[in-house]
């Protein structure tokens, strides 16, 4: 185990497969195995968690920000050059799915609302189609629930829908209170 002080000069000698414990200038500290070091971009690719199954964390770290590191050991090249497959189609679909999911998630998060309002929204969303209109929860596209999200603040919609939302709101509020008290 060799201890080397931080320095870009030393890093250039980093080789693939080294186990390192690294501290960054931003205070992060982690261990990882060197996947590669790309000199032009000065980026060190590390993987961690490779001992536990095929899934691992990948870090792309600018070596400029390594404060110091410790050499923990040496192991094989983590990448088998004969087994590096990329399915571009799968990657594209994965990205599209992820973006779509992110959009859907983003719509579900109210901007400028309290956590209580968000939790009410989340609770309502399990049973009813809801969306945010700024800080107003719109249920079934007709009933609007504004701050403070009481049954009194349920506005609009057909009487039946309005009543239903009110009941749901009261019910969810009770559940949230119970959960809150239990949590405390």
């Amino acid at each position: 185990m060799a201890m080397m002080d931080g320095g870009n000069n030393n890093l250039e000698e980093l080789a693939v497969g080294c186990m390192l414990s690294i501290r960054t200038t931003l205070g992060d500290e982690f261990e990882g195995q060197v996947v590669t070091f790309d000199r032009p971009s000065n980026i060190l690719v590390l993987q961690e968690g490779f001992k536990h199954g095929p899934r691992r964390n990948i870090r792309l770290l600018k070596t400029n920000y390594i404060k110091d590191f410790t050499f923990l050991g040496q192991s094989d090249d983590p990448l088998d050059p004969n087994n590096c497959f990329l399915d571009l189609t799968a990657l594209q679909t994965r990205e599209e799915l992820a973006i779509r999911q992110a959009e859907a998630d983003a719509e579900r998060i109210g901007v400028g609302v309290t956590t209580e309002a968000q939790s009410i929204f989340d609770a309502l969303s399990k049973t009813l189609p809801v969306r945010w209109d700024k800080t107003v929860i719109v249920v079934m596209n007709e009933v609007r629930v504004g701050s403070p999200y009481n049954s009194e603040s349920v506005i609009g919609g057909t009487p039946a829908a309005n009543d239903r939302v009110k009941k749901m709101l009261e019910f969810e509020r009770k559940r949230l209170q119970i959960r809150g008290t239990i949590g405390q």
């Binding site: 497969g17 992060d28 971009s41 095929p54 590096c84 990329l86 189609t89 992110a102």
Partner: protein
């Protein structure tokens, strides 16, 4: 400290990003990443891409700041940034969790193979697609026994068809990629097809026009002699329209044809709007020009588009008026003319069997024509007149298109209501077994079935609507046809025969008793006539 051969390889690339980093970068595309930047703030988002030049900048999608750094930035903490570009200077580290680097989440393709595949496909996409089509067709051809009658293009397709399996076996995993790349590649293909396809287009177009004219004439006379022909006529009309309207597209036909390969999707689109139909028509035309076999396959899409157009065509305002009274009147009206059958067929056509049938129909029309010297002569005559006639036809058709669009909608509405498609399919498979001529008859069968189903109560109404529409339609078509096709006398003889047939068919629809069995018999009869 050992150096892997990969590392050694990267040395050769000089300033460009190392292969390993590139691989790692690509393999985390679409995954959620945390990017730490210089001031300590952290952005979480979906890794979109990175600069692969000397500087490693990254682009995130749907990024949010999850940790506030030391400095104020122009990015709010709660705001989701659609696309966030983090320059290399600001990047400290990028963390991705739960990645499988060793191809665990990747099928079987490595980058090189992919690129090679893409290149190959660019060259061979057309082939591949044709191959697909040819495959689908080939069985049909075998069944029909028309293979000998098909033009050379078909033979070419068959060759390609043989090639494809090989490709696929070699590169199963790439099939997807190919498909995906196909869209992009399509753009290039047109160029290739243009060169070789132009000549074909020049001569084939006239043929198409001829067909249309002939068919129209026939349709004028009876339009029912052969459903197939009638359909073709309708198709032809649609094509004509597309051609005339989109003159510049002829060169691009190849591209359009390629697109057509995905008929299913296009069909659905066509159903949505008339405009899409017109585009299909164009595509179809192009295909017909390029490859005879293609037209056959295309025929199904045509059927959808053309039939709808035909419906629109044939649907008289009066018919519309009547329709409200009956639940199915629209279907009835459509059913009366052969073309309406087509309309229904397309609706039902989603099933593979049907598509196959229609292609056969197209073949039958092709086959029957080439063998007949008389027809050839007709074509030639027609062709002479076609240049002018085609344009004339197209214009009137276009005028009608506006009318059609509305009818199309009607058809769409009605079809769901009607259980007809279901009826058609059962009858159609039987037809499939038969030959092209039979196919034609098959359509009548379907009509019959439809009529029986729909008209049980309103039987009287059906004949009424049929008759009314018929004259009107014929009149309209006749007017067009007359302009275009007056020249060929030979056609008249054939047409007459057709007309007789058509009458028979018409009668059948009027009588709900007609049954699928009768159809095969008639088919044989027609086939004899044609041959």
């Amino acid at each position: 400290m050992g150096c892997s051969k990969r590392e050694m390889l990267t040395e050769d690339h000089g300033e460009s990003m190392s292969d390993a980093l590139l691989f790692t970068t690509i393999s985390i595309i679409g995954l959620p990443v945390d990017v730490h930047v210089r001031d300590g703030s952290v952005y979480s988002g979906i890794f979109h891409t990175a600069s692969v030049d000397a500087d490693f900048g990254v682009v995130l999608k749907k990024a949010r700041m999850t940790k506030k750094g030391m400095f104020d930035t122009n990015v709010g903490t709660e705001v989701v940034i659609d696309t966030l570009v983090i320059l290399a200077n600001d990047l400290v580290q990028l963390v991705t969790k739960g990645v499988t680097l060793d191809g665990g989440n990747v099928t079987r393709s490595d980058e090189e193979a992919v690129t090679c595949e893409v290149e190959n496909h660019i060259g061979s996409l057309m082939d591949a697609k044709q191959d697909n089509q040819s495959r689908n067709r080939s069985p049909v051809q075998m069944e029909n026994g028309f293979a000998h009658g098909f033009p050379r293009s078909i033979a070419v397709n068959e060759h390609e068809g043989e090639k494809l399996p090989v490709k696929k076996t070699d590169r199963k995993d790439f099939a997807k990629i190919e498909a995906d790349s196909a869209s992009s590649i399509n753009d290039r293909q047109p160029g290739d097809d243009k060169s070789k396809g132009k000549a074909d287009n020049c001569r084939q177009k006239p043929e198409v026009v001829k067909r249309k004219i002939n068919e129209k004439i026939q349709s004028l006379n009876s339009s029912h002699g052969n459903l197939v022909q009638v359909e073709v006529v309708e198709h032809g009309s649609t094509y004509m329209i597309s051609n005339t309207s989109d003159n510049g597209l002829s060169c691009d036909n190849a591209a359009s044809s390629v697109k057509l390969d995905d008929r299913c999707s296009e069909r659905s689109k066509s159903a949505d709007s008339a405009s899409t139909i017109s585009t299909q028509g164009v595509d179809l035309i192009s295909e017909s020009h390029n490859l005879l076999p293609k037209p056959v396959e295309i025929s199904t899409p045509r059927g959808t588009g053309s039939t709808r157009n035909a419906k629109e065509f044939k649907l008289n305002p009066a018919a519309k008026i009547f329709s409200p009274s009956f639940i199915h009147p629209s279907s009835v009206t459509a059913a009366v003319p052969t073309s309406p059958n087509m309309v229904y067929v397309p609706n039902s056509s989603p099933s593979v069997s049907f598509t196959a049938i229609q292609p056969q129909v197209g073949f039958s029309s092709f086959v029957s024509r080439p063998p007949l010297p008389l027809k050839v002569a007709e074509y030639s005559n027609v062709s002479v007149g076609n240049c002018g006639s085609g344009s004339q036809l197209s214009q009137p058709i276009i005028g009608q298109l506006a009318h059609r669009t509305q009818p199309l909608r009607y058809t769409a509405h009605y079809t769901p209501d009607l259980s007809e498609p279901a009826y058609l399919q059962p009858s159609s498979p039987a037809v499939m077994v038969g030959r092209s001529g039979q196919l034609v008859y098959v359509h009548p069968v379907s009509h019959e079935l439809i009529h029986g189903a729909t008209t049980i109560s309103p039987v009287s109404a059906h004949p009424m609507s049929n008759h009314v529409q018929f004259p009107k339609q014929q009149g309209g078509t006749v007017g067009q046809a007359i302009q275009v096709c007056v020249p060929p006398p030979v056609l008249s003889g054939e047409q007459q025969s057709y007309a007789l047939q058509s009458h028979i068919q018409l009668l059948q629809p009027s009588f709900p008793t007609t049954r699928p069995f009768s159809a095969p018999v008639t088919n044989g009869f027609y086939g004899a006539k044609f041959s």
